[in-house]
């Protein structure tokens, strides 16, 4: 510790080095990590890992395949909600997740530049800033089966400073304990959007931790809500600031900026879920690489809002991200509320 010109204490780089070195104490046990990895590699996989990629997956993706029948993202959201309360633990979800790869027949004629598509995307986001941003992340899809599904609702999609922000996330994974995807946790956070540049604020966090999944608790940084209970606490949370990235998934605005900077290239036009779509492929030259490449992105050619991104195309498994922007109707706003299953008592998160 030294002092600056005004006599204020200043830390040194050695202070920083020494402080970082003390964090080694948090290192997990190598044995426990390896046991988990080996277990996850086996045929009966625990649900903890979201992006499992088993060896030797057959290249079924190479075969021409029609896209699976899809509900819209909004309809998917509604379906999940109806299934959450009142069923036996652990809750399972029948999320119509997108697990198929579109058969691509891109039209190469008259393609717009990536820069113009990126700018159009950024403009389009401005038009939906008051909507609810819905995201669905489906992980580890192989042979039409997903290992995880993470749904997020965030409103408003692009909050202004001083505006109340609500975000909800429902996390489901495949586990050997139940058939299908089991809901692990359902959580929401509400806070007042801070001024630009302020990264964290105090918010109210509601967490439902589902029982029967094998998890020991839900939460972060040692603040764990026990399985089979729900909690509501005030704590510091990351703020969404003024960007459209609220739902905790990939940020459409970040994607748009990446497209505008030609980190993506336009590869064709096609139709996706009945929508005219511009298809883009990530070049790998940008700062954010969604490993493993290739990653494809489809943007609605009329609204310039993102529809879907598929990461790991051509690998044995891939991940899918989907977006929808929902008008803030009473029905859609109800999607922001965490559902507390009957019989779940309130608990105090452990420290």
């Amino acid at each position: 510790m030294t002092r600056d010109g005004n006599g204020r204490p200043m830390r040194t780089e050695d202070d920083l080095r020494q402080a970082l070195a003390t964090l080694e104490r948090h290192a997990p046990s190598a044995d426990s990590v390896l046991v988990a990895v080996r277990h996850a590699s086996g045929p009966a996989r625990p649900g903890r890992f979201s992006w499992l990629r088993p060896p030797g997956g057959s290249p079924w993706w190479r075969r021409p395949r029609l896209i699976l029948p899809l509900a819209t993202a909004a309809a998917a959201a509604g379906l999940v909600i109806t299934l959450l309360p009142g069923s036996a633990s652990p809750r399972t979800v029948s999320v119509p997740v997108q697990t198929g790869l579109p058969r691509l027949a891109p039209d190469q004629a008259g393609l717009p530049s990536a820069a113009s598509v990126g700018q159009a995307m950024l403009t389009a986001f401005q038009g939906v800033r008051g909507d609810i941003e819905y995201t669905m992340q489906t992980g580890g899809v192989t042979r039409g089966v997903a290992t995880s599904a993470n749904q997020g609702w965030s409103w408003p999609a692009q909050p202004d400073p001083g505006q109340q922000q609500v975000e909800r996330t429902v996390w489901a994974e495949r586990t050997h304990r139940v058939a299908g995807l089991a809901v692990f946790e359902d959580s929401a956070v509400g806070y007042t959007t801070p001024a630009a540049g302020v990264q964290t604020v105090r918010g109210q966090v509601t967490m439902v931790c589902y029982a029967g999944t094998g998890q020991t608790g839900c939460g972060w940084d040692g603040r764990q809500t026990p399985p089979g209970t729900w909690s509501q606490v005030s704590q510091r949370v990351w703020a969404s600031t003024s960007d459209i990235s609220a739902a905790g998934g990939l940020s459409p605005a970040d994607l748009a900026r990446g497209v505008a900077k030609a980190y993506w290239q336009v590869v064709g036009r096609t139709r996706l879920e009945g929508q005219p779509a511009i298809e883009l492929s990530e070049t790998g030259r940008g700062p954010v690489v969604y490993d493993p490449l290739p990653t494809l992105l489809w943007v609605n050619a009329r609204t310039y809002l993102p529809i879907r991104m598929v990461n790991g195309v051509g690998h044995a498994q891939w991940d899918v991200n989907e977006w929808a922007f929902l008008p803030p109707t009473p029905g859609n706003l109800a999607l922001l509320r965490v559902r507390i299953p009957p019989g779940y008592p309130r608990s105090v998160p452990s420290r």
């Binding site: 510790m1 030294t2 204490p9 200043m10 830390r11 040194t12 780089e13 202070d15 920083l16 080095r17 402080a19 970082l20 070195a21 003390t22 964090l23 080694e24 104490r25 948090h26 290192a27 997990p28 190598a30 426990s32 990590v33 390896l34 988990a36 990895v37 996850a40 903890r48 890992f49 979201s50 992006w51 499992l52 990629r53 088993p54 992340q137 997020g152 975000e167 996330t169 959580s187 956070v189 990264q199 964290t200 972060w220 940084d221 040692g222 603040r223 704590q235 510091r236 949370v237 990351w238 703020a239 969404s240 905790g248 998934g249 990939l250 940008g286 700062p287 954010v288 690489v289 490993d291």
Partner: protein
């Protein structure tokens, strides 16, 4: 003479402890470090043959860990760690009382940094990477790395005692 490629088992036996320490420093959270390393090892084991053929497999695995950590921060929702280092394990790190509170305060401020700024500091001051090595790891320009570092150091009130390159002398190979 061509050196035999490291098998995944050999990597796990000899290098994993250092990788785990790195993950712990990067994330500041035992549970998150465990999750991140598990996911990375799972993926790495699938294609170990190609990773083992690289000049520095361990460096590649660390790069995967950084990317995975940044990815977790992207997709995880917005709970803020209440302060890395708050779970002090005195058995492992006896610390003079005088410096303890200040160190814990510094760790808490580190935990609140944006993920990329934190990653830059960890790579520079814990791993001893050069700015160009950090840039390669994060997939950005060296100038961007210096920008992240300078903003983070200002937030933490850490005084630079020399040019950025002076930070590169530390612990090149921790194992």
């Amino acid at each position: 003479m061509v050196e035999a490629a490291l098998t995944f088992e050999e990597f796990a036996a000899t290098r994993l402890p250092a990788v785990l320490r790195f993950a712990a420093v990067l994330t500041g959270d035992r549970g998150l470090a465990e999750d991140v390393v598990q996911e990375v090892l799972l993926r790495a084991s699938r294609r170990w043959e190609s990773i083992a053929g690289l000049d520095r497999p361990e460096a590649y695995v660390r790069k995967m860990i950084v990317n995975e950590y940044l990815s977790w921060r992207r997709r995880s929702w917005r709970l803020v760690p209440s302060g890395a280092g708050t779970e002090v394990d005195g058995r492992l790190t006896p610390d003079p009382a005088a410096g303890h509170a200040e160190r814990e305060a510094l760790l808490a401020e580190l935990a609140r940094l944006p993920a990329r700024q934190r990653a830059v500091l960890v790579l520079r001051y814990y791993e001893g990477f050069s700015d160009s090595e950090i840039a390669e790891t994060l997939g950005c320009a060296a100038g961007t790395v210096r920008g992240y570092a300078s903003r983070a150091l200002a937030l933490l009130r850490v005084e630079m005692t020399g040019p950025p390159s002076s930070a590169q002398h530390v612990i090149k190979e921790k194992s």
